[in-house]
């Protein structure tokens, strides 16, 4: 490549390389028609659920706040179609539990957006807002980490006192097999993402940004490198195709060779990481005054008729996406929200798309069931592939034996739940299941100890 692109890098230990299956890499993002009814959960982010501020039968416009942030780690929720609030009720969401959601029914008349939202496609490059205003706007627009973590973005932009950010890293790695939402967004909205990056840099007061992209997306690397050629301080970092390259800690290590300490945050090494999708959402919020009412979702699966990338209103039933992609294949055995390595299995396609829904993956019957668990042959492959340097086989055994003190000593809390161990185990042992159990127990033991 002629452009100033760094050498390919990767994180130093562990990792796996599942079949990429990026079936939708060549499919442009299509706008999915706004549904007649949406169910918008009030808890789509990490932190306190938002507080509903609308009432039954109230008329709402697209982009109007319908639930307010309820604390520092929380964020706003907006109406994603115009119409009437049908009810506020418990609805099953992607967690499998019934949780509170605001249900809006579309009116007969044409869609109506809230005032002051710029719906044009014109690129607005000049950033007029200052640091504090940007952070405020990000909160108002209800932006959360769109890579799937759904951590409220304004919190990440508010650097704690005494810390200083040096780098912004934009995560365009998309290391999960199948998913292509970020890939397509970089290709189609690259200019906007760069402006978004500059907004984030301004809010963080940093002058250096790195965009990390796995090298299985050469077109995206080229596109972003072309756009950053004249940008001061923004560069593109191609990365080896190795899962979990897009894990926050792995990405920072690969791009900057800095190691986030155990139990620490990226800001401890002077870095803040945002997803490229988040950067796009920030651009829209700050430059166009448009809150987070829609996102790109990849709907895919080996037997899907037409796997696609859709721009979807939050709250749209997953079933609408499935239908738009050609209907549910008969042999579907599992429906996953997110990627196959870290996504959540859904128990129904009637749940709504949420802010963190990066993809919907339909897995055929024959791949849906796990293999029968066999005895551990101590091949040490789980140790080999752990990107955090843990010993999954040991953590599983210790958890089974309820030796939680040793589970804690062996750094269970460092586990990022990437699933490489369970993926690789030749004996089909449910390593991560037990590690999660161990992690949860240890975390609650620590809480008890501190009280």
């Amino acid at each position: 490549m002629s452009l100033a692109v760094n050498n390919i890098k990767t994180f130093p230990m562990g990792g796996v390389h599942p079949a990429e299956n990026k079936l939708t890499a060549g499919k442009p993002i299509e706008k999915l028609i706004a549904p007649k009814q949406v169910a918008i959960p009030i808890s789509q982010h990490i932190g306190a659920p938002a507080k509903p501020i609308v009432e039954q039968r109230e008329k709402v416009k697209v982009g109007q706040v319908i639930a307010m942030s309820a604390g520092f780690v929380s964020t706003n929720i907006h109406a994603t179609i115009s119409g009437t609030v049908a009810k506020i009720d418990k609805v099953m969401d992607s967690t499998g539990y019934k949780r509170e959601a605001i249900i809006i029914k579309a009116g007969k008349e044409e869609e109506e957006w809230a005032d002051g939202i710029d719906l044009s496609d014109d690129l607005v490059e000049d950033i007029s807002l200052g640091k504090e205003e940007i952070i405020k706007r990000v909160l108002e627009a209800g932006i959360v980490g769109l890579g799937g973590a759904t951590f409220p973005s304004h919190v990440k932009l508010s650097v704690p006192k005494g810390r200083k950010a040096e780098y912004l890293i934009l995560n365009g790695v998309e290391c999960e097999p199948y998913l292509t939402a970020d890939h397509r967004l970089m290709l189609e909205k690259g200019e906007e993402i760069i402006v978004g990056a500059r907004i984030l840099m301004k809010a963080l007061e940093v002058d250096k940004a790195i965009i990390g992209i796995e090298k299985n997306k050469p077109d995206a690397i080229e596109k972003m490198a072309g756009l950053t050629a004249d940008e001061n301080g923004i560069s593109v970092q191609p990365l080896k195709v190795q899962y979990p390259q897009g894990g926050e800690k792995q990405l920072i290590k690969a791009a900057l060779n800095r190691e986030v300490p155990s139990g620490g945050l990226p800001i401890d090494v002077g870095v803040v990481v945002h997803n490229v999708g988040t950067a796009f959402a920030v651009y829209e919020a700050v430059q166009k005054n448009k809150p987070l009412v829609e996102r790109v979702v990849t709907i895919t699966g080996k037997d899907m008729k037409s796997p696609s990338n859709f721009m979807v209103r939050i709250g749209t039933p997953v079933n609408n996406l499935v239908e738009a992609a050609g209907g549910i294949p008969e042999n579907t055995g599992k429906v996953i929200s997110g990627g196959p390595m870290m996504g959540k299995a859904l128990n129904s396609v009637d749940v709504p798309v949420a802010k963190g829904t990066s993809g919907i993956l339909l897995i055929p019957n024959e791949e849906a069931k796990r293999g029968k668990m066999k005895v551990c042959i101590r091949c040490s492959k789980c140790v080999d592939v752990c990107p955090m340097g843990l010993e999954p086989y040991l953590l599983m055994t210790l958890t089974q034996k309820e030796l939680f003190e040793r589970v804690e000593e062996d750094h269970v809390l460092d586990c990022i739940e990437c699933g490489s161990c369970s993926f690789t185990c030749p004996s089909d042992r449910p390593l991560l299941d037990y590690i999660r159990l161990g992690k949860k127990t240890v975390a609650s033991l620590i809480r008890e100890r501190n009280n």
């Binding site: 996953i336 005895v375 042959i377 030749p426």
Partner: protein, 333 residues
């Protein structure tokens, strides 16, 4: 319309292609080059010993698992076949049938099933069987058929000493090394497959091909074999530089006495080797060190089997105290 009975389970939702069978049969494939060269060098004796050993190991495993452990036998996982081949690899091609069966019984019965079967045995089963035979039937276990000479015979095969034994006895008798070198085949011959000795150690090249195959297929990692071989080279190299009259050179040590067989196929046994790569490095170094100590200062001409078994005993301790490098923990790094 919607699909009923969706499977709901925690992530990850996909699995690699690896299965126990695939890994075990990969090891078996890796052993084939050495086996083929051995058939060529030792003739039907090697074939007979290998087949009998495999069959008896598999049958014994089946019977013991079913009637003693009362579990479903998993003989098709390939591990009993590996034990069978490895046991055959470690004995002379003229070993009588009853000794092979006793060896299999000890390997599978005492070495493996007594501890609960695959995954639970602390010591390499094939080596347990081999060492039991060596101690119990030293005559039969050290009658080495001469390469290429009696390929069509079995029991009456002409026997001779292994190169390692020739050197060991010569040195003990005070004969200088350069003179002894005339009595053993050329290194190239040893490398390709002219080595008097057990079924599996006959050809360095065959073993190396298998090793490369296993690395390529990611069945094993390099840590244990490389650390073991490097230790042997360094240790014997120092002795050789000090006194080349009394101590033979490192290359000879590498290609004789089952060092490569041990390094590639026995020290790398999943169940009985350490879990972390740091542990593997130390484990390999320990095997190399003990091997040289036994060979040079002990009374056995070769020492790989004992060295591996001794280090097997340290593996649980190593797993407990030698931890992988943790991400984000400087004090452990």
């Amino acid at each position: 319309m919607s699909v009923q009975f969706l499977t709901v389970s925690p992530s990850p939702h996909i699995h690699s292609e690896d299965t126990i069978q695939k890994l075990m049969y990969g090891v078996i494939i890796a052993m084939l080059p050495a086996l083929a060269i051995s058939f060529f060098v030792f003739g039907i004796g090697a074939l007979y010993v290998t087949l009998l050993s495999i069959v008896s190991c598999v049958i014994i495993e089946f019977l013991l698992t079913r009637y003693l452990l009362r579990k479903d036998p998993t003989i098709l996982d390939g591990s009993a076949i590996i034990t069978g081949i490895l046991l055959a690899f470690n004995v002379p091609s003229s070993l009588p049938w009853w000794a092979i069966i006793i060896g299999s019984l000890v390997a599978i019965g005492i070495g493996k099933t007594a501890f609960g079967g695959l995954g639970n045995n602390p010591f390499n089963p094939a080596l347990v069987g081999r060492v039991f035979l060596l101690i119990s039937f030293p005559v039969q276990m050290t009658s080495w058929p001469v390469p290429f000479e009696s390929r069509l015979q079995f029991l009456d095969a002409a026997t001779g000493a292994t190169p390692l034994a020739i050197v060991k006895e010569g040195v003990d008798a005070g004969i200088p090394i350069p003179q002894l070198m005339n009595e053993i085949p050329s290194y190239l011959g040893l490398f390709l497959g002219g080595l008097g000795g057990s079924v599996g150690e006959v050809s360095a090249i065959g073993l190396i091909i298998g090793f490369v195959y296993m690395l390529w297929k990611k069945i094993i990692t390099w840590h244990t074999p490389v650390s073991m071989l490097a230790t042997i080279v360094v240790f014997t190299g120092i002795l050789w530089i000090i006194n080349p009259e009394k101590y033979i050179d490192p290359v000879f040590h590498l290609i004789t006495g089952g060092v490569l067989l041990g390094a590639f196929f026995m020290a790398t046994d999943y169940v009985t080797s350490p879990m972390s790569s740091r542990g593997m490095l130390m484990y390999g170094a320990g095997i190399g060190f003990i091997t040289v100590v036994i060979r040079v200062f002990g009374s056995y001409p070769e020492g790989v089997s004992f060295a591996i078994l001794i280090m097997n005993g340290f593996v649980p301790l190593m797993n407990k105290y030698i931890k992988p490098k943790r991400f984000g923990n400087k004090k452990n790094g």
